[in-house]
């Protein structure tokens, strides 16, 4: 399972998403690798990823990728991330 967390700059929101996604994977007992990326490198990274986590605004910028793109509204809400991520993994 490869997950890419995407934000505009690669230092803020994607890092928050990465930390929370790692926590969710641990809680679910799923082996996975989560990478934080800015939008520039994300288009490339998303080609080899299973899942892309990002915001509504940036999802459109990523464009067509083979990965499943999940839109997160509240980046600090573990419940939302857990619900959306587990639905995508199943």
């Amino acid at each position: 399972m490869k997950i890419v967390a995407v934000c505009g700059m690669g230092i803020g929101t994607s890092v928050l998403l990465k930390m929370n996604a790692e926590q969710v994977l641990r809680d679910l007992g799923v082996e996975g690798d989560v990478e934080a990326a800015d939008i520039g490198v994300a288009r490339g990274a998303a080609q080899s990823a299973d899942i892309v986590l990002t915001s509504d605004e940036l999802a459109g910028e990523i464009g067509e990728v083979p990965a499943k793109v999940i839109i997160i509204d509240n980046f600090v809400d573990m419940d939302e991330i857990k619900e959306k991520l587990s639905a995508a993994i199943e």
């Binding site: 934000c7 505009g8 700059m9 690669g10 230092i11 803020g12 929101t13 890092v15 928050l16 930390m19 929370n20 934080a36 800015d38 939008i39 990002t54 915001s55 509504d56 605004e57 940036l58 910028e61 509204d73 509240n74 980046f75 600090v76 809400d77 573990m78």
Partner: protein, 151 residues
């Protein structure tokens, strides 16, 4: 070196008046500049980031994490905290309006991760967040954040 959230907070501005989202980010940037964390260029870069990528920095209901890339405009890593007297809209579909703007400056892509982790913990804690929003003095904010370290 692990950075502690309270020690990384270089500027606190409570119940500040902002006319719009640019103004709100500027207040967060002014706090970073006044504390010697960044130069004024960084403030412009934080505003430009929203102009380029949209209001995705509104990471949770009511909270904007203003930031730009690590650059020469960042003198050291740190945070500024601005609570707004009146909420402003950033144009975010779900998380508007914003009442708390946190300015984040990082020197690279990893040094500030511990601080972000602590910050995420604070912002996800509804009770603590409510008490932080009600705080009227810098000491109150700092004491609340310190209380988290000992929990």
């Amino acid at each position: 070196m692990a950075m502690n959230l309270e020690n990384s907070l270089f500027s606190i501005n409570l119940k500040a008046a902002a006319a719009d989202w640019r103004d709100a980010i500027r207040l967060a940037g002014d706090g970073l500049v006044a504390a010697g964390v960044t130069t004024g260029d960084y403030t412009d870069q934080m505003i430009a980031a929203v102009e380029e990528h949209g209001p995705y920095i509104v990471i949770a209901p009511g909270i904007a994490l203003a930031h730009a890339r690590p650059s020469e405009a960042v003198l050291k890593g740190g945070l500024s905290w601005v609570s707004l007297k009146d909420p402003v809209n950033f144009g975010h579909a779900k998380n508007d309006p914003v009442t708390l703007v946190i300015g984040l400056a990082a020197t690279d892509h990893t040094a500030h991760i511990e601080v972000l982790k602590a910050l995420a913990g604070v912002l996800a804690n509804k009770d603590l967040r409510g008490r932080l929003e009600a705080a009227t003095t810098e000491t109150e904010v700092r004491d609340l954040l310190k209380s988290l370290n000992t929990q």
